[in-house]
Symmetry: C2
Subunit: 315 residues, 2 copies
Amino acid sequence: MIRIGIDIGGTGIQIGALNENFQILNHASIPTCTGIPFEAQVDQMVDCIHDLLRPVINPQLSMDQVLSIGAGIPGIADADGNVINCTNLGWVDAPLRKEFQKRIPKPFFVDNDANVAALAESVAGISAGTSSSVFITLGTGIGSGIIINGKVWKGFHGIGGELGHMILKMGGQLCTCGNHGCVERYCSASAIIRMAREQLAAHPESLIASICGGNPEKVTAKTVFDALHEGDALAEQIFTEYVSCLAQTIANVTNFLDPEIILLGGGVSKAGSVLLDAVREEFPKYVLFNNQPLPRIEIASLGAEAGVIGAAMLS
Amino acid sequence: MIRIGIDIGGTGIQIGALNENFQILNHASIPTCTGIPFEAQVDQMVDCIHDLLRPVINPQLSMDQVLSIGAGIPGIADADGNVINCTNLGWVDAPLRKEFQKRIPKPFFVDNDANVAALAESVAGISAGTSSSVFITLGTGIGSGIIINGKVWKGFHGIGGELGHMILKMGGQLCTCGNHGCVERYCSASAIIRMAREQLAAHPESLIASICGGNPEKVTAKTVFDALHEGDALAEQIFTEYVSCLAQTIANVTNFLDPEIILLGGGVSKAGSVLLDAVREEFPKYVLFNNQPLPRIEIASLGAEAGVIGAAMLS
């Protein structure tokens, strides 16, 4: 038996065929096309699935063997497999299950991409064996997935897990959502870029300035981490501010939900141990009962494959 | 069969004997004595329980009929019935179950008071019939209890539900916990008092000033609500600010956990519909997916009895 996992992103769609041990037997990717009708987008994904299923590679790879298909989306879906809202793809009330099952009559599931990644890690990744976890994706934006008692908790109305839009600083930075002070404005890759750009003019001597040729538009989160690695003072200052914000967010998750483990994924988490060590040291300061055992903080282990693996696990 | 519920507060201890329908058959209260040894405090509670059990009032009221004893504390306890930390009572690593069972050999349970109140409401109060809820006590401080899938969720390490010490405004007001910007500094009765005191000198014409005889030390949350009821402009300004902070906190709970229902209890919730209506109108502005069904917001229904009833429900 195999399961198909689809990781639908804003720029690309990753599709994998996995065996019962959630190992990827075959995979492919297609660009995300937003300028075409919804049905045509589904056709492209279905074509890609058919293309993956080539028994010549592995006898398991046939449609007969497919047990289920799951999709992770950067948005929210209801229990009937309708995508309620997925801004990046322009989907509003899109009947994803219905359209898929017209083309491939197999059980089809859809959930938020951070929930899916949290599920993947909790079954096959760094949080395997834990019963409660919170997965935080530190990318251009911030997503999160909550696992309680071994199951995805996406809220009673399906709108939970939006850690990125919890307010961390009332009256703070204006967010893309229209509110002020959201976590996303302080803990995402975009936040690191903003902090760097704000400081760049006052610090022309910084390595960040030379890496980006003096052009603030060219600063990325990686620029800052590269400069940090070289001991650049401005990069250290930005990193310290960023870690403080992230530590307060992780402490908020701890003070409220206190999961067994908190995972950091997404682009910023590629900074690895420099980030992990700093956050582990900083976040207990903001936890009320910090003389007690606290959640483990870890970098997610499945990387970019978490989306496909977790989507295949949906049931 | 009856169950004993003990609500251990900073100033008083309420004890009730409840029947199988969680109706209070008899109850009593004793002052909280913090200047005596822990064992003597337990002795006082045990004496009070014996005093409650008078078959002359009701034949059920005998120790033979007692199925279990539960206690709610303003602190945290472990699964073995040890109180890890309960600042108001000066308890640290206090073996509450062990000491109780030395005196009354019955099953004994202890949990945080906000968890206990959340449990009471979810079984016998306004949230009965719901599967997930968050109970927020708006008192001198802020506590919260989380119910998920019908059970108290107090975190993997038992340190969750501390909504009052989640950071709502990074770098904001200094909190009693030593951090800055905690929810408690903006959403408690103390926050209303602070907001009023900050404004009082500049608004000598306010009804708040006349109610408290111009003495800022005499301002209470009730002073502000009384003045609000009379249409006082300063009270309206304070109320608007308070509701905005509380709405952002409720939205944070919604964006992250999205429970079926959110309950407001504690002293400030006695303001009733004026508070409830304002919060219900304000909080959706801060919810990301606010075009979807949102958690119901309600005032807790069991009032001061929630502590005793919920403690008796512990098992």
